[in-house]
Symmetry: C2
Subunit: 202 residues, 2 copies
């Protein structure tokens, strides 16, 4: 988990021990351990030796807190798709990049899978559908057949799934096989954009 953000923290000088930041750390940990809905603000406050009210000074609401944890992943993916669109990535680059994205943020995604309640705090519905549409257009073009749509959907969906679930598989192996499988699925799209001329249908 990375650089992570910095929600509404006041000071931007080298200082690090922002309470806001510590709150996010503890919150993420608890959310992953026991899910969003079963983690109360009281739990978080207790863990930090604070009161609920103190949390509100740093984060306007529980929803916002959750959103601020998901936001980096969201931005990352959105940015990648935009970049993919403008820079005409090859299919392989697209799928690899998408896997890496999902893998990088797998902890949050895992938390969201285990307790999807958290999706309610972020836009989710709009986001996921729009994301799916965008990925579909990249993979299947502007006038996809039903089969094309299905392939794009299943490939993207599967890729995301493979990257988050399956913690016991080592990264390199997981990545290689996941992308290969996605490539195979997408290969069935008629004259799929970014196709590598020499590919074998199977």
């Amino acid at each position: 988990m990375g650089e992570d953000t910095d929600g509404g923290a006041p000071r931007r000088d080298g200082r690090s021990t922002d309470t806001a930041h510590r709150i996010r750390e503890v919150a993420l940990e608890l959310f992953i351990r026991q899910g969003f809905s079963r983690t109360t603000l009281q739990d978080i406050a207790d863990e930090l030796g604070l009161t609920r009210a103190a949390l509100y000074y740093h984060h306007p609401s529980k929803d916002h807190l959750i959103a601020s944890l998901v936001q980096p992943a969201k931005d990352d993916i959105d940015g990648f798709l935009t970049h993919a669109e403008t820079d005409h990535l090859s299919t392989r680059e697209l799928l690899e990049g998408f896997f890496d994205l999902n893998y990088r943020h797998r902890m949050i995604f895992l938390a969201l899978v285990r307790d999807p309640t958290g999706l309610g705090s972020v836009d989710a519905e709009g986001w996921v559908t729009q994301l799916a549409a965008q990925a579909q257009r990249l993979l299947a073009g502007d006038e996809p057949t039903t089969d094309d749509r299905l392939r794009a959907l299943v490939a993207i969906n599967g890729l995301s799934r493979c990257a988050t679930v399956l913690p016991d598989v080592p990264h390199d192996e997981l990545r290689e096989h996941s992308v290969a499988l996605a490539m195979e699925i997408v290969a069935g799209i008629r004259g799929h954009p970014g196709a590598e001329p020499g590919r074998q249908p199977r």
Copy 2:
């Protein structure tokens, strides 16, 4: 849990228009329209001209109410998988059956996707993972390679996704293409169980 679907309803003769049943109807409608979390017991009671407490007479809690709506789908799927295991269904039968199941209950699944809050009411976590494991074993056998696991995961996951999302595609077309794609994915499993000897890899 078990028989039910008929919360605490008193009469068990042929009668149908039990209050308990009307509650479920109204509840499902509201849940689909505005999500689980944003639908309060008050909303449901108001719609029926009752009080919250009256609901309590028929259903022990909101969680139970939600669970009773999801239960049929759950039982249906569990039953199918058990049946598939004991009766050694072919891969095609398995995938077709799984699609049909997901399609039949797509309204509830859609509601659960749109507001995953409801998943908290049912076991969800345990259920889904166990279900995935079971499906994987059916498709990939007892000692799957990583690639096998991925294929089973992506196929099942994709099938479920295709059946619920994509309301604009007519049923027959959707079913045909979804199953075909799943078959294609699963075909890559080495000597996959239930393989039809004469199949073409693509």
